[in-house]
Structure formats: structure tokens, C-alpha cells
């Protein structure tokens, strides 16, 4: 989540709750030979909505890896640590994981602010895999990114609207922080390329109690053919509900850039007509790899399994990357790992992928919303990440 599901204001309020959970992984007594992974997921705060899925997916991957002989022959031990509080708190946990638990690797599925705090703390001493969809451009040493970047989402989304929906005019609305702004830079480039025109661009304050009546009315006045939303979490839900409430859903197509299964549940069936999403993972991904992953997941956790979504599935992908990368490098040395990562083939939760420049070229999926379910109707193979870090 380059997308901060936990606005700062809430962080303060949830900090206390967060500290209480910080110790969760501490009682996992690891053996000396274990390959220890400090695994940052959201156990507290609003993003802990994803916590159960993150944990379940990570456990599934660890179980598979251990059956296959572990990482570099050592059994994997996951130390789940809360990243749902303030970034500084998470960074403190990172210090503890390095000094006391002496972890071999960090994996993080959390927002970008926390990633930056962690990177500043870890200082490349321990490898760090950052897994969720994010704004791109992260090239700190010994950091490996798995998530979709703006170019990967923007190109297929804009092309779809311009070519298949015949959109000439576009309206962009997003939360006011790095990911939406970076995404919109890309989108504007592609809109121009397809001969379209951006008739409006606006941002709402991130983490504020936003309401969207005014924005929706403004959009109605601007009469665009299509709207591209880079809103996250509750803002995304509120916007899409207001949009449909004002009856604009019938005439204007919407692509929402961070619309996953949980958010769509919030948007609801009556507000999801003519709404599309473009991501690297959907629970309904039609690929063979995606289907196999889902089947394994459901076999392990049954019908009451936590909802599969991109945040969560990324944890599974991250562990697959860890195994492939460490096994190939045969060492935890930063230079060897970085070298091993280049051209490294591994499986995410939805596809066979290759790591280049410490980023991943991904298969992207275009999905339309049918009620509260996604229906993937198009797969775009191996879309470039647009970020190439030094290797």
C-alpha cells in the first residue's frame, strides 16, 4: 500500500492499541538454524482489515517453502510484526528484530511512509522485500519491490477507456499524496497519447473526513466521458457511492486504481455499475497460477478463509521471491542478492514473473465490477514497471 490506509490522525488514536500488539511475534522461539523473516503486516488500525489475509497467505507460502526444503536449506520462520501504527513505531520494531531476533530478511506489506521509515532504520544491513502496490521509484540498496507501479496501472486503464469505451475527455480525482499524483502524471501522458483531454483534476485531503457531493456535482458539470479515481480506502467507497447516488454511473465510465475485493464490498452492488479496476491481482484472476494459488488457499483455510485480495496475496508472492532469490544467491550478502535478483524468475500469486532492476514486470488485469465481484475481461502481459534500479 503505497496508499496509506491509516491516515496520520488515526495513527495517533490507534498508536496505543498498536503498541499493545507490537509484541505479538516475540514469543515465537526460533531455532538457531531457522531462516528468520521479520514480516510487517497490519495487526492494528484500519489497515488491519487486511491482516488476516496477509497472515494466511504468508503462512501458506511458508508451509510450501518448508515442505520444499526451506530457504537455502533452512526452515523458514515468520515473525509477524505490526506495521499498522505510526511509521516510527514500526521502525523501532525493525531495530528489535535486527538486534534481538537477528532476522535474515524483512518483508513488508504496508504503506510507503512506513517503508521509508524502515529503510532509514535498516540501512540496507538486512534485505527488505516491499510487496504491495505502490508509487514506484524505490531504489534504495538491498530493497526489492514487488508491487504494481503507476505506469503498469495507468497504461492499460487509459487505453481501455480511450479505445474500448471511446472516452475523449477524462476527469481525474485522487487523494492528495504521492501515489495518486504520480499515477496521474502517467495517466495524463497516456491520455494525451490516445488523443484525449483531461477536463478536470482534483485531490481531496488525505486522512480528512471527506465527503464527495461537491466533487461529484463538479464532475457532472465538467461532463467527462470517463473518470479515473486514485482514491483509497473509505474515500474510494464514499466517492463511488456518491457518484452512483447522483446517477452519474449510467453515463460515465469509472476506473478506480486501487479497487480491490474489500473496497468493492464497501462500494456495494448498487453503486458498482460501469466501474472498472486495473490491478496485478484479483481473487478471480483467470491465470492458471492464480487459480492454483486460490485453490491451495481455500484448501488450507476452507470456506471461512479471509477474503483474498491484492494486499495479502502480495505476502505470498514476497515469500516466493525470497526463496528464489536467496537460493540463487546462496548467501545473504547484499551484492550477491542484488545480482541474483536480476532476471530472476518466480511465481507471484497470479503469474510467472521476472524481476528486473529490483522491480517486477507484471501481468495486469482489467476487471469490471459485477455487483460486488470482479470479472476479469482482459490480461495485459508483462507490463513494464517503469522503474529500473541499479543492480
Amino acid at each position: 500500500m503505497g496508499h496509506d490506509f491509516i491516515p496520520a490522525r488515526r495513527r495517533i488514536l490507534t498508536a496505543a492499541a498498536g503498541t499493545a500488539v507490537l509484541g505479538t511475534g516475540r514469543f515465537v522461539r526460533a531455532q538457531a538454524n531457522d531462516f528468520k523473516i521479520g514480516f510487517f503486516i497490519a495487526l492494528s488500525g484500519p489497515a488491519s482489515l487486511f491482516g488476516p489475509t496477509q497472515r494466511a497467505c504468508a503462512d501458506l507460502a511458508a508451509e510450501k517453502i518448508n515442505k520444499a526444503g526451506g530457504v537455502m536449506g533452512r526452515p523458514v520462520k515468520l515473525i509477524f510484526t505490526d506495521a499498522g501504527g505510526a511509521p516510527a513505531e514500526t521502525a523501532k520494531s525493525a531495530v528489535r528484530l535486527m538486534l534481538e531476533d537477528k532476522v535474515d530478511l524483512f518483508i513488508g506489506s504496508h504503506d510507503s511512509a512506513t517503508r521509508e521509515a524502515n529503510i532509514a532504520t535498516i540501512k540496507a544491513k538486512t534485505p527488505y522485500i516491499y510487496s504491495p502496490v505502490y508509487e514506484g521509484g524505490e531504489c534504495s540498496p538491498n530493497v526489492y519491490c514487488l508491487g504494481e507501479t503507476p505506469p503498469q496501472q495507468a497504461q492499460p486503464a487509459t487505453e481501455f477507456l480511450a479505445k474500448e469505451k471511446g472516452a475523449k475527455t477524462f476527469y481525474l480525482i485522487g487523494d492528495d499524496y504521492v501515489w495518486p499524483r504520480k499515477s496521474n502524471e502517467q495517466i495524463k501522458k497516456y491520455v494525451a497519447q490516445y488523443g484525449g483531454k483531461v477536463v478536470g483534476e482534483e485531490y481531496v485531503p488525505f486522512g480528512a473526513p471527506n465527503k464527495f457531493e461537491e466533487a461529484v456535482t463538479r464532475i457532472k458539470g465538467a461532463k467527462p466521458d470517463a473518470v479515473i479515481a486514485t482514491l483509497v480506502g473509505a474515500d474510494n467507497v464514499n466517492f463511488n457511492r456518491a457518484f452512483a447516488g447522483f446517477g452519474l454511473d449510467k453515463s460515465i465510465a469509472r476506473v478506480s486504481m486501487l479497487l480491490e475485493e474489500n473496497t468493492l464490498m464497501g462500494v456495494g452492488a448498487e453503486s458498482s455499475a460501469n466501474l472498472y479496476s486495473c490491478m496485478g491481482y484479483f481473487a478471480n484472476s483467470p491465470s492458471e497460477v492464480g487459480k492454483a494459488f486460490k485453490a491451495e488457499y481455500l484448501a488450507k483455510y476452507g470456506a471461512k478463509a479471509p477474503q483474498l485480495a491484492t494486499i495479502g496475496a502480495d505476502c505470498y508472492s514476497a515469500l516466493n521471491l525470497a526463496k528464489a532469490m536467496f537460493d540463487k544467491a546462496g548467501s545473504a550478502d547484499a551484492k550477491k542478492l542484488t545480482a541474483a535478483s536480476e532476471g530472476l524468475a518466480f511465481d507471484t500469486a497470479s503469474a510467472h514473473v521476472t524481476m528486473r532492476g529490483r522491480q517486477v514486470d507484471k501481468d495486469m488485469y482489467l476487471a469490471s465490477c459485477k455487483g460486488t465481484e470482479f470479472e476479469v475481461f482482459k490480461t495485459i502481459k508483462a507490463v513494464k514497471s517503469g522503474t529500473a534500479c541499479k543492480v
Binding site: R10, A17, D176, P209, A234
Partner: protein, 284 residues
């Protein structure tokens, strides 16, 4: 008139009405009992979950109203009796206690319903034409219901004997007690009215927002601003506060963007705290 202008005017009205109905319970409890109930937003959330439960079970939407009133009423009674009553006249302690309560309620909601977003379908869907502008019907209903609830409360408070006694209690509890007014019972009742109004607000806004354990935080913040600007202890203050905060937010949002609207609200709140800390309609 331009349809866009009409729609934006209705948006401002809707902003004011939804803010007033959410802030009402908070204003009652803070204005009359001097208790800043930080769990107010969570009670709104409880009301919203009541609406969701009603809709999940296929009950008519109106059944959510008594359900929310009963649940929030019982909660209000228990909270006043065992948490707030021992702490009257100790504002900081009530602040801490209600903050703890808000965490507890949020965790309870999480335990019962999970963290996922719940969506309700609008009980009165579709749009209507108002002077050429297409406006969602349910939002118009919300404006109407808020006006009725607020108006009813104003009339009752001004005209009824109970209202007079509550005024006496709020003005000088010791003197009221000496006059034979059962202050403890009135305080309890006032608190319950406050929590019930929160629950009612939850039922009203539930179809428009994602229902989730953290939703209370979003709604309570603006309510505090309303009280800062409007002042405590009168419905007039609440209305003025809602009109100033909600109206400014809507108008500036419509003219520029949401960032401008939010900035204007924050700036207003600061100016008021600085120059007029007791608000526009301070009770003397």
C-alpha cells in the same frame, strides 16, 4: 438558475443537515452535562451497524430506528450510570473514560462484525429533479428528517416542563436538587437522549458511507468543530455551528476543491478558539 448551482446549494444544505444531526447528541451531552463524550462517534457507528443488521435480516429500513434507539439507549444508561456519573465535574477524567469507551466499542464492533466495509443499499433510492438539478432522493430525505428532529427538539426543550427542569439542572445542579428536581435521573435521561441521537444519526448516514468500526472518527471530528464555533448549550448554537462549518466546507469545496474546504474549516476553528473561545452562542 443553473442546475449546477442548484445542486451545489443543495449540497451545502445537505452538508449542514448531516453535520447537525451527527453533532446533535454530542451537543446535548456536552452542553447540558458538561461531559465531552469522545465515544460519540462510536455510538454513531453502533447506530449504523444496527441499520446494517436490520437490512441484512431483510427488515424494513425503519425498524433500524427503534433497534438503534434501544441499543444506544441501553449503552447510554450503562455508561452514564457506571462510568460517567462518578466523574461529573471532573472533565478531564470523563474525557479519558469516554476515550477508553470509544476504543472498547470499536474493538467490540471489530469482534462482532469484522473490519471489512459493509455497504447498505439506500432505502429510498434514485434521484429527483429539483429546479432542473438531479439530486439523490435519500439525501433530500436526510435533510428533511434532520430538520424535523432538530425542530422537534427545540420545541420540546423550549416548551415542556421537563425542558425547563433540565435547564435548571444544567444551570445549577445543587439548587435544582434543593428544589426537588431529581437531578441524577434527569442527568441519566439527558445522557441517554444524547446516545440515542447518536444512534439515530448512525441509522440516517449508514446508507451513504462505508460502515466499519473506524467510521466514528470521521464523523466526530467535524462535530467538535461545530461545537467550537457554535458554542455550547443551545440548539441555536448547534445550528449556527453546523451552518458555519458545514456551509463553509461545502461552499469552499464547491468553489475550489475539498482541500480548500477542509482548510477553511480548520482555519475557522482556529480563529474561533483564538478570538471567541466560547463560540457564537455561548450560554452565560
Amino acid at each position: 438558475m443553473e442546475p449546477v448551482l442548484v445542486a451545489q446549494a443543495l449540497n451545502a444544505l445537505f452538508g449542514i443537515a448531516s453535520l447537525a444531526i451527527v453533532a446533535l447528541g454530542l451537543a446535548v451531552v456536552l452542553g447540558l452535562l458538561g461531559v465531552l463524550n469522545l465515544a460519540h462517534g462510536e455510538l454513531v457507528m453502533v447506530g449504523a451497524y444496527c441499520a446494517w443488521v436490520a437490512q441484512q435480516n431483510g427488515w424494513p429500513y425503519l425498524t433500524a430506528v427503534p433497534l438503534a434507539l434501544v441499543v444506544c439507549g441501553i449503552l447510554g444508561y450503562a455508561v452514564e450510570r457506571w462510568l460517567v456519573r462518578p466523574l461529573y465535574q471532573r472533565p478531564f477524567d470523563t474525557l479519558v473514560v469516554t476515550w477508553g469507551l470509544s476504543l472498547l466499542l470499536r474493538k467490540c464492533a471489530e469482534a462482532i462484525f469484522g473490519l471489512g466495509y459493509k455497504s447498505l443499499s439506500e432505502p429510498i433510492g434514485g434521484t429527483v429533479d429539483v429546479l432542473g438539478a438531479t439530486y439523490p432522493r435519500f439525501r433530500l430525505v436526510l435533510i428533511g428528517v434532520s430538520a424535523v428532529v432538530l425542530g422537534g427538539l427545540v420545541l420540546w426543550y423550549a416548551k415542556s416542563r421537563t425542558g425547563t427542569r433540565i435547564k435548571a439542572m444544567a444551570g445549577n445542579p445543587d439548587l435544582a436538587r434543593a428544589l426537588g428536581i431529581p437531578v441524577a435521573r434527569y442527568a441519566s435521561a439527558t445522557f441517554i437522549v444524547g446516545t440515542c441521537l447518536a444512534g439515530l444519526a448512525g441509522v440516517l448516514i449508514a446508507p451513504l458511507v462505508p460502515v466499519q468500526p473506524f467510521m466514528g472518527l470521521d464523523h466526530v471530528l467535524m462535530s467538535f468543530f461545530v461545537l467550537v464555533v457554535g458554542g455550547l448549550g443551545s440548539v441555536g448554537g448547534l445550528l449556527t455551528g453546523s451552518a458555519v462549518i458545514g456551509g463553509t466546507n461545502s461552499v469552499v469545496s464547491a468553489l475550489s476543491d475539498s482541500t480548500g474546504g477542509y482548510f477553511a474549516v480548520l482555519a475557522l476553528a482556529i480563529v474561533f478558539l483564538w478570538l471567541r473561545p466560547r463560540g457564537i452562542h455561548a450560554r452565560t
